[in-house]
Amino acid sequence: MINVYDILETIRMIQDDCLDIRTITMGISLLDCIDSDIDKACEKVYEKITTKAKDLVKVGEQIEKELGIPIINKRISVTPIAIISAACKGSPVKFAHAMDKAAKTVGVNLIGGYSALVPKGFSAGDIELIKSIPEALATTERVCSSVNIGSTKTGINLDAVKLMGGIIRECAEKTVDQACFGAAKLVVFCNAVEDNPFMAGAFHGVGEPDCMINVGVSGPGVVRAALKKYPDADITGIADVIKEISYKITRVGQLVGTIASERLGVPFGIVDLSLAPTPAVGDSVAHILEEIGLEKCGTHGTTACLAMLNDAVKKGGVMACSRIGGLSGAFIPVSEDAGMIAAAKSGTLCIEKLEAMTAVCSVGLDMIVVPGDTPADTLSAIIADEAAIGMVNCKTTAVRVIPAIGKDVGEELDWGGLFGCGPVMPLKKESASKFINRGGQIPAPLHSLKN
């Protein structure tokens, strides 16, 4: 018989410590939807998504019921739309509407892939798509967008960086009535990955098969609860506890992905080993760091604790699943993490510290609310800094900042639900305009030459 202690531990993890599967994301290639007639192409996009993903939500709910573990999101990622829209004339926003309609038909809450990949320059369709992002995000509900502006191999496309600062502002301006939410659906990447199941940055890379299931696990609450039992362990011991619990969390991700893939008749891609927080009590990455021994997340020592945590999560998860991918690491979105929100409000967690943290964890400056009067060039400079960290450290970094139009430090934006709320965080006032307006390409670093 299965051990009684194990059964109760599993139930406690789910019931008390917020263990869940964060997302089952179906990646769908749209390469076969390319058409020189934009309306025909959109029709094919809608048709393909609604055919491939017609049972996604149903199967997700079945698995949830059978295993007794919540699967919070069922989502879809598609081929970067710039590749599809390049072949036809007309506004790419039509594709966003087709994606949105398809997402609503199949019942997924978000669909990612209104994206362009421009790390080394723009090809046909890229600029049109990027310029259409604000309208696409303001006129759709579930579409998410991302733009890859750099990589370790290519360096950083500073022209794209410049463009994206303005696009982020425009996204916020066009959605002031929704607390500037448009900007929360847009991620600017360096070293974007092709199989990321997490929104808003998910897209289905062109190197991926036609259709694929990827799973993102979660479980900050479980890690914190486990650490609570070892108040006096040394840091090696703490790393071991995190590895052990990550193994268990990831095994569930592997199981869910395997079952989903069988029932949907779609190959199982990867498990993304991430600690994804939510604003719910007891589901915070910041609180794990505080449990390790920081008075408040963001103080000195935060980067070291996070580095250890991120590494231990990977080491624990790596043996628990067949294939790992996506972003795999601890997320530190400010507005989506109760501990981060508190730390930012108290002033302990500032944007400079967050930037340092992104050098050792999975993603980047995520869900950070900045003053509404922040100039586009300053947003571009934030992107450039973050991309440089990704480029030099051979890791994915991203920027998802939300200018709170009409608001300043001391105020906040509140979206509710999984997106949470974020205090406006102060930025430097001095300009980086001259640097950003130089344009061109920051050359790839020396260590990109590995062959």
């Binding site: 051990n3 599993t10 059978e66």
Partner: protein, 89 residues
């Protein structure tokens, strides 16, 4: 194919009988039962065979959960795979 039915809460007369009767209604054979008091809570764990159910898993699960609500205890019905995968290499 087996499921684990866990009943956690305050011990009352007839819990085992009522839960196993409900399982029988669905043609779920009770294979093993253990009971213990853990952290001041009564915990009963049943392993039931669900390969010959006369309905789908979700109906069995909902029905046992609502029985638990009537009895004032918390019932979980979970496929054994989740425990096997988490706790065995």
């Amino acid at each position: 194919m087996r499921a684990v039915v866990t009943v956690i809460g305050k011990d009352t007369v007839g819990i085992l009988a009522k839960v196993s009767t409900k399982c029988a209604e669905f043609n779920a054979n009770v294979e093993e039962v253990t009971q213990s008091v853990l952290q001041e809570l009564f915990a009963m764990i049943m392993v039931v065979d669900i390969s010959k159910l006369n309905s789908d898993f979700a109906t069995l699960s909902d029905s046992l959960i609502s029985l638990g609500e009537e009895l004032g205890v918390k019932v979980h019905v979970m496929h054994e795979d989740i425990f096997n995968c988490m706790h065995h290499i």
